[in-house]
């Protein structure tokens, strides 16, 4: 037998599937039993089947090199990560609560700024925010929703507590991989789905379409919804194309769009110009509209912001939503939940130290070897320092950066992250994972069933980003009680 759970090391870890050597968690019991019943050869066959499926399905992500880019097959591990349904229901409630508060916060910032006047949120954090858009002040967003699509990263510490690590409110990506992972795993382990204990994930695309269609400024049955992509050189292009295809809508690039003098948006079609109502834009704020933001942007369409401001087109996410996607703002989310909803946060934040606070900064500078230091506005794991793994030179450099620009840095204790069994050669080893669920806010709030599990494939590594040696797994919400 290839997999022997008796020899699976769990010491010092919180493992998602195995609680102690030889003891799978109740929700993972049948999966672990099944995996252990496979011979080396069978296990290898399954892995090859997955690799083949990924290659044939063309699931790729783009990596940039100097002077070029290349499509790489999506790194995938065939052993799923399992979350019991009861725990997930609780998490789902927590995510809805969080996104609701975040949207109220964004809406407040672009209007009365009550939260600042009431001294719950410091004014100078806003002043220094690079994602606050003056152009959005006073705009009324339908239903007060700015971040229609949110991807929040969840991590579990070794004591089993689940935390929110960050909220991605600009253009979160990864959902297509969540959907594709399920297709791959169905090809690989069809027999496991006979039990019907695994909750389906496939309705995301139709939920997304319904939410987008609900934003249309023109009443009617057939709103023209489009997905707007920066183009094939974007690392998430695969996802843009995938979502457009799944929703049956056009995938447009900036050059396909024109905005006329009446502030209406059109796309160039073989029949001529055709009106557009809703744009699911996967182009960053600053590149969206050369007329309003960066004039050198070739990815946007001139006049989009003007059209959005006058209510002729809906943009999702709304420009300016990224103001809440800031690792310093993040630290205030529990306060926002209390302030706007008068509730206690259901999912806690990772304890955070804000370098703008003198006391916190002193602590951070004294404990750089223990902390993870993050810049406020980077994503994809860039620009951060993992203290315990950093060289003293790196730590010195970050100390300087923090002193120079305290507002831009925050620090958190180095979490261990939970692990999950991952196929390494012909046996399994624990590898660290996180989870990115996606939350849609429209007339109702929808949370994906589970989310995208990202795994750090390198031994001991905590970095799960696909651009830096990460892979992914299928995520199963399993109802063992029902």
């Amino acid at each position: 037998m290839a997999i022997d759970w008796q020899h699976y090391p769990t010491e010092g870890l919180y493992d998602e599937l195995i609680s102690a050597p030889g003891e799978p968690r109740p929700s993972a019991h049948w999966l672990c039993e099944y995996l252990a019943s496979l011979s080396d050869e069978e296990l290898n066959e399954r892995r090859t089947a997955a690799e083949l499926a990924i290659q044939v399905m063309g699931i790729t992500f783009t990596v940039y090199y100097e002077g070029g880019s290349i499509d790489r097959a999506w790194p995938f591990d065939i052993i799923p990560r399992i979350i019991p349904k009861r725990e997930w229901d609780h998490t789902e409630a927590g995510l809805k609560q969080r996104v609701q508060a975040l949207n109220m916060f964004i809406d407040d910032l672009y209007h009365d700024q009550r939260i600042i006047k009431d001294k719950v949120f410091p004014a100078d954090v806003l002043t220094d925010s690079v994602n606050f858009r003056e152009q959005c002040v006073g705009i009324t967003a339908p239903r007060g929703v700015w971040a229609h699509i949110c991807g929040s990263d969840l991590v579990r510490d070794k004591d089993g507590t689940l935390y929110v690590l960050e909220d991605n409110l600009r253009i979160p990506s990864g959902v297509s991989y969540m959907l594709e992972n399920r297709l791959v795993i169905k090809r690989v382990f069809p027999e496991l789905f006979e039990h019907q204990l695994i909750q389906p994930v496939d309705d995301y695309s139709s939920q997304l379409y319904d939410m987008l269609a609900s934003l249309s400024p023109r009443p009617g049955d057939n709103p023209a919804v489009v997905v707007m992509t920066p183009g094939i050189y974007n690392s998430a292009y695969f996802e843009h194309a995938y979502l457009a295809q799944q929703m049956g809508v056009e995938l447009v690039e900036g050059s396909d769009l024109v905005v006329d003098d009446e502030d209406c948006v059109y796309m160039r079609t073989i029949e001529g110009l055709q009106r557009v109502d809703v744009i699911y834009r996967r182009v960053d704020d600053l590149f969206l509209d050369p007329e309003a933001f960066r004039p050198d942007s070739a990815l946007g369409a001139a006049g989009l912001l003007r059209a959005w401001r006058s209510g002729k087109v809906a943009l999702a996410n709304a420009p300016g939503a990224g103001v809440a996607d800031d690792k310093v703002v993040y630290a205030f989310v529990p306060d926002m939940i209390k302030y706007y909803l008068d509730q206690d946060p259901i999912i806690p934040n990772v304890p955070s130290f804000l370098c703008m606070r003198d006391k916190d900064r002193e602590y951070v500078l004294a404990n750089l070897d223990k902390l993870v230091v993050k810049p406020a506005n980077e994503s994809g794991g860039y620009g951060m320092m993992v203290g315990p793994h950093a060289s003293s030179k790196d730590r010195k450099q970050f100390a300087e950066l923090i002193k120079k620009n305290p507002r831009n840095y925050m620090a958190q204790p180095t979490l261990t992250l939970s692990s999950t069994p991952t196929l390494c050669g012909d046996h399994v080893e624990p590898r660290f994972v996180d989870l990115r669920p996606f939350i849609l806010s429209g007339p109702k709030t929808y949370v994906t069933t589970g989310g995208l599990t990202r795994v750090a494939l390198n031994k001991g590594s905590l970095v799960v980003n696909s651009s830096q040696g990460g892979g992914s797994k299928d995520t199963w919400i399993v109802d063992v009680e029902g």
Partner: protein, 320 residues
Amino acid sequence: MLSRVAQNVYWMARYIERAEDTARLISVNDILLLDLPKNSLGWAPLLFMSGGQDQFFENNAEVNELNVIQFLVGDRKHSGSILSALSFARENLRTTRDVVPREAWEQINTLYMYVRDHLVIGMSRRGRHEFLRRILHGSQQITGLLAGTMSHTHAYDFVRLGRNLERADMTTRIVDVRSANLLIGQSQVQSQPTNAEQEQEGNPFDNIQWMSVLKSLGAYQMYRQQVRLRVRGPDVLRFLLQDPHFPRSVLHCQKELEISLKDLPKNDGPMECIAKMKQQLADAKITELASEGLHEFIDELQIGLGAIHDQLVTTYFDHV
């Protein structure tokens, strides 16, 4: 449908057709050469048919089997090579994956990777046949997949436009190059003792070359059913230019173009070009052309095909 997308599926279809046609061309030449006296015909005509002769001579000093096949199959710098055509088809599809059924994407992806990974085998004489056969089958599978699983909406109209323009283009090229030396009895391949009887029957090597023209268009069997005479130059020409039923005849391609355009908006411009070509085909006197003026006639057809392409560009792809 977006103009950019229409343009992409159109080119995708052209490139897939190009890959298939080129594979067919090489495959037939390969077999033909086995039957001809050594050093008679060789591989140079293929360069002219593919239209890549100038580029070939920039990088190659000698026209030999290996150089030509390498150029036509695996040369990434040559946009007409099978590898390039498939990679362009893939790129075009990649940017329009949302309108084409995903099986087609999987299929193109698989075919491209197969060709990329088997170039060495494809160069070898023994492996070549199987290699080319897989390219032919792979391309046809994609064509079939699109026909069978893609809704026949405007996007599919552009697929058919691309495919039939490319197909007509290839048929005219093959006819042009192959018949240049066959028709007027100037075949480079002479059978040694000529007598009166043989003269009348036609040079046996001419015969197999005409057969190879048909075969390189997959037309031999259909020709036989349709014409029921021994293979003769003018009949072959008539079949390839004017047969209304054979899918690779220029007339059939022209009809397909007309049908594909029918439901598209603003089709006056391109329709006019197609009508002109139809007239030209109808007026052609094949027996006369066989002895004189074929090259000029084909030239005119190719200019017509170019004009249809230009019309599609200005009407649907590049308009403001």
